[in-house]
């Protein structure tokens, strides 16, 4: 409100934006290091929040564009972005995959995918416009010719679309393919910022390796072909509105931060439960297991965001710096037998239907020792969190699909009520519901109406859909947009990935060769996991 009066006709917008109140708006990271600092667009102003955050003219190249992820998530997300007017006027989408197709076949597949899975309303005009800028490049990944064609196609965009070299490459392909594709990009110079004259970025999906060594190898490869700053590792959980809200909740409010430490927090429970089985991913899943598939990335990222210190500034580098500090401080309990539980679902009933045992699923060896459930007690060795257990669990074929972070507070040190009055009183809790029913719940004791004093837990609810005005975008929409804009806030850095593997590797080593406990499909995990908390005098929250 104290902004200097803006005179009307003579304002050079560049200086105006510098003095304007740019409080919450992160600086649009338009120019990555390496490009010449350019004159800011005079028509853009961080205070002008009606205008959407739109990337510079750019191309998006999707490898493996005919795959599942591309069809179900990427293409619909790109359509949704276009429909919301968030793509630049000059935008090209290039698909690369093995099939021998013409542009027309690809267009048909893309349209069908976008139409089936799009979040926003279907608008033929929007699609037609996107379609004009759609190209398919067929070829296998070891085909030099195909990559030369792709490089040429990218160069041509400069003339036809006014895209001055900016391109992002989305590797929607199995990790074993990464090296060959990256080598091809290196060979053709596609990955080079200097050669292209704009920015070149790469998007990598999890899994980022399967242990510390392989992750290091992969990081090294990607970081040398591109530069470390141009690598975007997608953890789609971080694209969720509620996860980002965790930072707003903690760092924009005075209310929570004073109690966000071991003086007041008894324990933290982070849960990611799925009701589905392994679907069609048998080969991948049996080689991976729940700990590598979910714990290593999603759950540890949620832990990092919950436990991290306040970043100096709400900017990508600062947030990642705080996250890496937490991840490096994560400790495993000395007695892994008692506090690292693996489970595997047995046959059972779920949501009124019979569910097969994991070992009976198609393409799973009948003696598989892969876990579909993992629960582990972690510690964070910092002054803030010393002594507070972080209970993490994830599993498949659990009763319902839910992801949440529960902060359980200590009981009041003294209760002036008689014991019988407060029998029903539990821990005060703050629960961040990541999905579904995105929101926050606060649980605390309240008097039951009546003539006697009786205190019981009640819940206070904040539901996103009710308090806010905009539907939350799909995580992929947000993340793709961030890649094109160059905002790395929501993407884990290479050392975060490595630090996470340092937590997981000893667990995997400990579990190797042991059989997981069985739990019935439709149960909240094996009873050993309940016993693990019971030994500490606690119990799992039922999410």
């Amino acid at each position: 409100m104290t902004e200097p009066g803006s005179t009307v006709t003579t304002v050079p917008a560049g200086s105006e934006t510098a003095t304007g109140d740019q409080t919450a708006v992160p600086v649009p990271a338009a120019s990555p290091p390496g490009t010449v600092t350019e004159r800011a667009n005079p028509l853009r102003d961080p205070r002008d929040r009606r205008l959407p955050r739109v990337p510079e003219p750019c191309a998006l190249v999707v490898f493996g564009v005919t795959g599942d992820l591309a069809r179900k998530k990427l293409l619909p997300a790109i359509y949704d972005l276009a429909n919301r007017g968030l793509l630049p006027a000059d935008f090209a989408l290039l698909g690369f995959a093995r099939r021998d197709w013409g542009d027309g076949d690809f267009a048909a597949l893309a349209k069908k995918a976008a139409k089936t899975h799009a979040r926003t309303q279907w608008n033929d005009d929007v699609w037609r416009r996107l379609n004009e800028n759609l190209q398919f490049v067929p070829g296998s990944f070891d085909d030099d010719q195909a990559f030369d064609t792709l490089a040429e196609a990218l160069d041509n965009l400069r003339n036809t679309h006014g895209i001055k070299g900016n391109a992002a490459f989305y590797l929607s392909i199995p990790p074993p393919m990464f090296p060959v594709v990256l080598k091809q990009m290196e060979r053709t110079g596609m990955a080079s910022n200097e050669r292209s004259g704009g920015w070149r970025r790469v998007v990598v999906e999890k899994p980022f390796g399967h242990d510390l060594d392989s992750a290091r190898e992969l990081n090294e490869l990607v970081d040398t072909v591109f530069t470390a700053n141009d690598v975007f590792r997608i953890d789609h959980y971080l694209g969720k509105e509620t996860v980002q809200n965790l930072m707003a909740l903690r760092f924009a409010n005075q209310l929570f931060e004073p109690i966000w430490n071991s003086h007041y927090v008894d324990s933290v429970q982070i849960t990611m439960a799925e009701d589905v089985g392994i679907g069609g991913r048998a080969a991948f899943y049996d080689a991976t297991g729940a700990a590598r598939d979910v714990l290593q990335n999603h759950l540890l990222q949620l832990l990092a965001l919950t436990a991290m210190e306040e970043p100096v500034e709400f900017a990508a580098e600062e947030i990642r710096t705080e996250k890496i500090k937490v991840l490096r401080a994560v400790s495993l309990p000395p007695d892994l037998d008692a506090s690292a539980i693996r489970g595997q679902y047995d046959q059972g009933w779920l949501a009124g239907e019979r569910a097969k045992a994991y070992r009976d699923e198609e393409d799973i060896p009948p003696d598989s020792k892969t876990e579909t459930y993992a629960a582990v007690r972690l510690g964070v060795e910092t002054r803030r969190w010393a002594g507070v257990p972080f209970y993490m669990r994830t599993g498949k074929r659990l009763p319902r699909r839910v992801t949440e972070i529960g902060i359980l507070f200590k009981r009041a040190p003294h209760l002036p009520f008689s014991r019988t009055d407060t029998q029903e009183l539990g821990h005060n809790q703050l629960v961040i519901r990541v999905q579904p029913d995105e929101g926050v719940t606060l649980k605390f004791g309240s008097k039951v109406p009546g003539s006697s004093m009786e205190v019981r837990d009640v819940a206070m609810d904040f539901l996103y859909g009710e308090a806010f005005t905009e539907a939350s975008p799909e995580a992929y929409e947000r993340l793709i947009l961030d890649v094109l804009i160059g905002d790395a806030t929501l993407f884990p850095r290479n050392d975060e990935v490595e630090a996470s593997w340092k937590v997981i590797d000893p667990l995997e080593e400990f579990w190797a060769g042991k059989a997981p406990y069985l739990y019935r499909a439709g149960e909240w995990g094996p009873k050993e996991a309940d016993e693990m908390l019971a030994r500490d005098g606690r119990e799992w929250r039922r999410p």
Binding site: M1, E3, G5, S6, T7, V8, T9, T10, V11, P12, A13, G20, E38, R39, N41, P42, L43, R44, D45, R47, D48, R49, R50, L51, P52, V54, E56, P57, G85, P88, A89, D90, N123, D125, V126, R129, T160, H161, G162, K164, D461, F462, L463, G465, E466, A467, F468, T469, E470, A471
Partner: protein, 328 residues
């Protein structure tokens, strides 16, 4: 739905509380209260727009219809409903007769959602001065629509004279699409502008505001040339190196032309009143860029420095047109 004839404000408050209880939505949140000020003849249009906006913003909608200020006996009729015809939120439609219409705030104040921002929207010619209307004085955000005034150019100028931070006008909302397209066209050009011109209707407030915005951003004078087509037909910007960027509207499409590049064609549908209103409700803070554009149109400076709070000025329409400036 509860309908109350010849009732009191207290009864309306009670009816709303009862509707909330029976609706089982005692805990449901309201992000804001929207106060709609409208004439009887435009009620349908305003209702449609508010219904669409309510589907995007959880809100309490209070519609105030002032009738027959000269009626001898004041009277209040109200219609209270939740999640019905007027969208998923809570709504109260109030018809105020006689002198009560001049004291509408006495009914609406106790109905505002606790501690939530209040937005006032005049669906009709904007008031000459917002401080004349107590409903505008206690609102945090005020939305007018100068395109509904008889003399739109004068009304736009009057908005600048009367401006306080927190005011916006739907004539500005209507050009967000144009502004986004032009800003996007400028991405990737690194030249300053030498001149710019808006072709359209020079009496159209949206065309004027677009020219005002361009001149406040580009630092050049931007005229509106009358071409006799629509409100805004074309915007042409000449850069210092002589290159020309132009944007044309063509039957629901926007064609962006830049020298040496393929034309880009984007769908450019006209947005409904409800969509415009929904865009306005998304931002509850003062729109400083609008203030600059409005300042450029009216050659007034320092609009953003004005106090955001207004003081009610009592103006009695019964006493001819000599307002006695005395705060109530």
């Amino acid at each position: 739905m509860t309908t109350l004839w010849d009732t009191t404000g207290t009864a309306v408050v009670k009816a709303l509380a009862a509707e909330r209880r029976t609706g089982g939505a005692v805990t449901s949140g309201n992000a804001l209260t929207l106060v709609v000020i409208v004439d009887e003849r435009d009620v349908h249009e305003a209702e449609d727009a508010a219904t669409l906006a309510a589907s995007k913003h959880p809100m309490r909608m209070l519609m105030v219809i002032r009738r027959h200020i000269d009626a001898p006996v004041p009277r209040l009729d109200a219609e209270v409903q939740m999640g019905g015809r007027l969208g998923p939120g809570e709504s109260v439609v109030m018809r105020m007769h006689g002198r009560l219409a001049l004291h509408a705030e006495s009914v609406t104040l106790p109905l505002l959602a606790p501690d939530a921002p209040v937005v006032a929207w005049w669906h009709g010619a904007p008031p000459d001065r917002i401080s004349y209307d107590p409903l505008g004085v206690f609102a945090n955000r005020r939305i007018t629509d100068v395109s509904r005034a008889d003399d739109r150019v004068a009304a736009l100028r009057q908005r600048a004279v009367d401006f306080a931070p927190g005011d916006t006008d739907l004539a500005w909302t209507r050009i967000t699409g144009w502004r986004a397209a032009l800003a996007s066209a400028f991405d990737g050009w690194h030249e300053g502008a030498a001149s710019a011109v808006v072709d359209g209707d020079d009496a159209d407030p949206s065309a004027q505001l677009l020219a005002g915005w361009l001149s406040s951003r580009l630092g050049v004078y931007v005229p509106v040339n009358k071409t006799g087509g629509g409100a805004i037909d074309q915007v042409r910007i000449t850069l210092i190196d002589g290159a020309v960027i132009s944007a044309n509207e063509d039957y629901g499409r926007l064609i962006l032309h830049r020298e040496g590049q393929q034309d880009s064609v984007a769908p450019f549908p006209e947005r409904s009143l409800g969509e415009l209103l929904a865009e306005e409700l998304r931002r509850l803070d003062a729109d400083r860029v609008f203030a600059e554009a409005l300042g450029a149109v009216s050659s007034l400076t320092g609009l953003n420095d004005r106090p955001g709070q207004r003081v009610h000025i009592w103006k009695d329409p019964a006493l001819a047109d000599s307002p006695t400036a005395a705060a109530t």
